[in-house]
């Protein structure tokens, strides 16, 4: 029988949203558009229009060793070109940010190739070849994985995910990399590491509360769905813990 991923347990909307994000067979809704140059500016790794710095010559110009794995796994475009490895890091508000750190990692692992994600409580970083990174970042910004108010691209000084929201609804950012304009549009005025940009990068209007709640992938008893109410989810975790505990005894068949 062919393996069919289940992506995760749960009967709640949160659980369903998590499965949707992870499942690569589902095309996520494109909510906004940003240009390739916008992405390059916010990432801050290279000047728009400049060539990709390389870590090694293109694979086609190298004498590749005889290796069965290389025949099975096709290199990504960035790897083929010899791009260096760079990163994008997201901060997700606990007040119904549409994606959350582990959720991002799981989703990226299902949908992207050639990545190295790192997951923390207040931020999630993913590293890969630079041109692949730009393509992935564009998708992460344009789709329902992103909310201009509740998601933020930050390389450093990331505190904010657990803080109350500012009066204008934006997640706290000590460096105020993005601001809410009078036109209601959120714009990045600094790149992810906090360097001022030559021009603003517009990422659209914040989603309304109903959208945020409907797309949320975090349980939250005050502003969203209560974890306790998804009994299937709780039961699944307890089962995993119990089985792992029993495994610790190294049981053997009599």
């Amino acid at each position: 029988m062919a393996y069919k991923p289940q992506y995760g347990p749960g009967t709640s909307t949160v659980a369903e949203n998590r499965r949707r994000q992870m499942n690569p067979d589902i095309e996520l809704e494109k909510v906004r558009e940003v240009t390739d140059e916008d992405v390059v500016l916010v990432l801050g790794h290279r000047a728009p229009g400049s060539a990709y710095p390389t870590a090694h010559p293109p694979l086609a110009e190298q004498q590749e060793p005889e290796c069965p794995i290389r025949k099975i796994v096709e290199a990504t475009e960035g790897a083929k070109a010899g791009d260096r490895v760079r990163y994008v890091q997201f901060v997700d508000s606990m007040y119904n940010g549409p994606s959350q750190p582990y959720q991002r990692t799981y989703t990226e692992c299902y949908r992207f190739r050639g990545i190295d994600p790192g997951t923390l409580s207040g931020r999630q970083i993913v590293e890969c070849r630079e041109r692949d990174l730009e393509a992935y970042s564009k998708w992460l910004i344009e789709t329902e994985m992103f909310d201009p108010a509740l998601t933020s691209i930050r390389g450093a000084t990331v505190h904010g995910h657990s803080l109350r929201l500012a009066e204008d609804g934006l997640m706290f950012d000590m460096l105020q990399r993005c601001i809410l304009g009078e036109d209601g549009v959120v714009r990045y005025v600094k790149d992810q590491i906090g360097e001022p940009l030559d021009r603003e990068v517009l990422v659209g209007k914040p989603q309304d509360d109903a959208w945020s709640k409907g797309k949320s992938t975090i349980f939250h008893s005050l502003v969203g769905e209560s974890y306790r109410d998804d009994e299937e989810y709780i039961e699944y975790i307890v089962r995993v813990h119990t089985l792992r505990t029993k495994y610790g005894f190294m049981p053997t068949e009599e």
């Binding site: 959350q100 923390l120 995910h161 657990s162 500012a166 992938t217 975090i218 349980f219 813990h241 610790g248």
Partner: protein, 568 residues
Amino acid sequence: MGKIERSQKLFLSALKEKFEGQDQEAVKTTFYNFGGLKQSPRKREFMKAAKGIEMERGISMYDPEHCHLGGLPMGQRQLMTYEVSQSGVFVEGDDLHFVNNAAMQQFWDDIRRTVVVGMDLAHATLQKRLGKEVTPETINEYLHILNHAMPGAAVVQEHMVETHPGLVDDCYVKVFTGDDAMADDIEPQFLINIEKLFPAEQAEVLKKEVGKSIYQAIHIPTIVSRTCDGGTTSRWSAMQIGMSFIAAYRMCAGEAAVADLSYAAKHAGVSQMASILPARRARGPNEPGGIKFGVFSDIVQANRKYPNDPARASLEVVGAGTMLFDQIWLGSYMSGGVGFTQYATAAYTDNILDEYTYYGMDYLKDKYGYDFKNPNPDTIVAPTQDVVNDLATEVNLNAMEQYEQYPTMMEDHFGGSQRAGVMAAACGLTCSIGTGNSNAGLNGWYLSMLMHKEGWSRLGFFGYDLQDQCGSANSLSMEPDRGLMGELRGPNYPNYAMNVGHQGEYAAIVGGAHYGRNDAFCFDPLIKVTFADPSLSFDFAEPRREFAKGAIREFKPAGERSLIIPAR
């Protein structure tokens, strides 16, 4: 599981003080208008002090308005104060950094400079090999000499240099025994009186454990263990013990029997506070990484003072343990960092962990009939997997909901590692106190971690990926190299050796298993008795209160050098 009502929210008064005039349940607030660093009196004090130092030494120093993020100082949001839990004292975060807190330093100093040395081996040598008479009078005379010699004074040779008593006034030796008649014969100044210091039930057990033996509780000078290291303590102590025996019993300084006394004092009769660490950790005995959790729970004395509140007793261990293991051991010894202060303080400030733990106590009583105010081995709950799962699930869900319902509390514990440690500690303590089983407590910790991670799709920093996501499998295991009873685990236990926000809580979980049964001790009765001594510089029954005193600069430490330096 099933939520229970608990109207008392222990954290609310702290939140109201910290976020004065604000709606604790509101999701929105204002930022960027607090005046940066200058909102904090302590930061202002630092800046002023640094200016003076720069003028004096001609080298730049603390300059946060220039150096922090290229000119963007901290304080774009409110720089909070913290209430040291159950002390009623509000302090600034900086005051809980161990460098700024003399009580925290003394806590560790008092452990590092302590060894326990039995007297029976020495007495046998004196009596059987040398034919000396050992009586209460000779023991008292020996102790008199030893309290002269231990701080660094000469007893045998002429024309010797000695230490200034004012610099080593924290150094002394007392003895204890389980033999009431012998205890009566020891001069009170030299006796740790088990009968008087412990509740009656605990005293009986401890006296039985100690038996007719006599043990010396030795505290070498703070200034010595600071200048040298924890490995010095047994050596310094043994040297003075040997010299004092020679003086008290008129022995020949060179005779071979002295070697027997030295061997007993240095090796055969010694209890170190911490075992030696492997070479890659590069620490000798009596350094923090070698303190077994069972020993640490005996060092902290809160269960002696609060025998009818195992939650309180355990929470004191959390405070003491996170300070030592996170702030000093991992924060500086191991990582070389400036101390993981805010990982640790989350567990002993603002009564947040306290509230979650007492919720667990109420749940134990409500669902299982275990009355934590009357801890008793006969009333504990059997530590089955179902019980652990139920307790940890309910306590963890409650904790998550409290963070959600009070956004200022979420903001207080702004880091996931803080929340993870606190929630898992509440779960672990509930399981260990209720079942009297430390490994059951550890197992509850790991269920909390898994549940937290899945609920909020986040946990702590990278390290939590290893330790907390495979911990279920080793928490009840006794397999060599992957399992051990909680009492014998410690900061250097394989999976525990690299991650802040865990070790202090684990120690408390181990302690809780015994406090929940009203045991007199967790692992070592000798260490339990040793740290009951009221003459110690630090009060080990109230570590959090002592840390608060240190924070407000009211704690008087030992080992000061003001006698021999110019007045400032």
